[in-house]
Amino acid sequence: MSTAQNLDALYQEIILDHYKNPHGKGLREPHEAEVHHVNPTCGDEVTLRVHLADGVVEDVSYDALGCSISQASASVLYDLVVGKPVDEALAIHEEFLALMQGKGEGEPDEDVLEDGIAFAGVAKFPARVKCALLSWMAWKDATLQSSKGSST
């Protein structure tokens, strides 16, 4: 349900800030895996690369076309996972996923999700959950691909 109040819950300042000034945007070398994900409903797209080294997420670089929610979420993803051990990053991913799928009932843990807690309002808009998850799904896909790549 979309009213003026929860419009503000959706478009929190933090989200709009990330949207205007996305962190980590652009495609960079080196990378072990690159994926391209699409939201078939609206056409939003992300191309995303990961660079892992010694079990740590060294870099996540991306080029994204999409709405404020999907752009801001890629920026927050970058902040949250770069520099973290892969295991820890995957745990953050789980936490973010749970928040998004909680229909707005979830209690986000600010220590884990930092700016990501601003997305709590998005969970109340089923049509927008996919926007918030686009880059996160791409990141997980790329991470699994590159972990597989490195273990062979």
Partner: protein
């Protein structure tokens, strides 16, 4: 809502609006519904809903096969719906009207049967011509056909102002062309295409002309029988839910001679003449293409829908659409940073208007509008290639219909101003 006096509006528009129960709907936050997504699906008048309810509560039975009283009533109602649809499009023969589940199935029926042995079979060396402004439902079936048959797919491009680029017509439509499939009215750009001219050229080379009338049937008066034969489509598709009818029903109209040439599409039910384990023969049209229990209550709903449109008069509906579209084009032009994709002359276009606003993504526009009760569509509207042609991935689309008021357009324009300020655009 009080409406400015615009010439061309449907007489007694407020009374007409009362026919549509959903228009009374109040949304979250107590805001009234402003439904501007009719190119996506139209709303239903009470008379359509009542026709369906009456059927389900009093006459429901399977058709054709049932000889009892309910069966006879149901069959008469279903076939009367075919008569009404035939009258709506001026079909030369009522048996040329095939009921499908939607426009997509109708177009796939055409493309799929052309893959199989028959007088019209498409094969290697043959060409199928479509356009860049088609809905996915008039692209993918032809991609599947050409991929599977070894034929070649070619297409018309789009000019900068949103028209078909017909300068390549003689290069595109040649003696290799077996099918030309084109939309009458674009669901994204709003463009009305010159289907008569394209049909004439296609018929000169013996190609089959398939017209997607999904956006035309709701808005334009159609009289197939009155068209000169060389300008008349051979096959034409439209969908029930966009002409104030229910979902689950679409129409393929086809010239009898062509439908007779096509092999069966789906098998089973009443599409047969006789069935033996080692082979079957098929019923004549329309039943040949109506396998299984058809969408009976949906056809009855569609019959009531086109009858309703007939009572309003399609000329009047078209005039209303043009008046509203012109008013909307004017209103949208006042919004800073707004660009319209497609023709900007209301007389040359249908009622779907796709646009962009610099600095705000279509999703975000639609979201803010929704918080004010204004329902528009954001995305690629199942027309990715047309978006790609204009270098965009998605757009916002408003689309009006016979129940749309100028005040609703005002609400949209106000909402767009608010969106700009919400996202702090200068």
């Amino acid at each position: 809502m009080t409406s400015p006096e615009l010439p061309g509006l449907l007489p007694e528009l407020e009374v007409v609006r009362k026919d549509f129960p959903i228009l009374e709907r109040v949304l979250a936050g107590g805001v009234p519904l402003v439904y501007l997504d009719s190119a996506n699906t139209s709303q239903k008048p009470q008379v359509v809903i009542d026709a369906m309810v009456d059927h389900l509560e009093r006459h429901n039975a399977n058709i054709a096969r049932a000889m009892h009283q309910l069966g006879a009533e149901s069959t008469v109602a279903f076939e009367a719906a075919r008569d009404k649809v035939a009258a709506f499009i001026g079909a030369p023969e009522r048996d040329e009207v095939i009921f499908t589940k939607n426009a997509s199935e109708a177009l796939n029926l055409a493309a799929n049967t052309l893959a199989w042995a028959g007088d019209r079979q498409v094969g290697p060396g043959d060409e199928v011509v479509i356009t860049e402004m088609e809905h996915h439902s008039n692209i993918v079936p032809w991609q599947l056909l050409t991929q599977r048959s070894g034929a070649t797919l070619r297409w018309f491009g789009i000019t900068d102002d949103g028209h078909l680029d017909l300068s390549t017509i003689d290069d595109l439509i040649t003696e290799r062309t077996k099918v030309v499939a084109v939309t009458w009215v674009s669901n994204m750009l709003g463009t009305i295409n010159p289907i008569a001219e394209i049909a004439r050229r296609a018929h000169q080379v013996g190609a089959l002309v398939v017209v997607d009338a999904s956006q035309a049937a709701p808005q334009l008066p159609i009289d197939l029988a009155a068209m000169p034969e060389d300008e008349r489509p051979d096959l034409m598709a439209f969908t029930g839910h966009k002409v104030v009818g229910p979902t689950g029903i679409g129409v393929l109209w086809g010239r009898r001679a062509v439908l007779d040439q096509l092999p069966p599409f789906l098998g089973g039910g009443e599409m047969i003449e006789t069935v033996r384990m080692d082979g079957s023969t098929y019923a004549p049209i329309p039943h040949k293409f109506e396998a299984g229990t058809p969408p009976i209550v949906e056809a009855i709903g569609l019959g009531a829908a086109v009858e309703y449109l007939g009572h309003l008069g399609m000329d009047a509906v078209h005039a209303h659409e043009q008046a509203i579209t012109a008013y909307a084009l004017d209103g949208l032009a006042t919004v800073p940073g707004l660009t319209i994709l497609g023709p900007t002359d209301a007389a040359l276009r249908g009622g779907a208007i796709a646009f962009e606003i610099d600095g705000v993504h279509p999703h975000d526009i639609a979201q803010v509008l929704d918080s004010r009760g204004v329902a528009v569509r954001a995305g690629h509207h199942c027309a990715k290639p047309a978006h790609a042609r204009f270098g965009v991935q998605s757009s916002t689309r408003m689309s009006s219909y016979l129940y749309t008021t100028p005040a609703e357009i005002d609400a949209l324009v106000d909402g767009l101003e608010y969106t700009r300020s919400y996202f702090k655009l200068a």
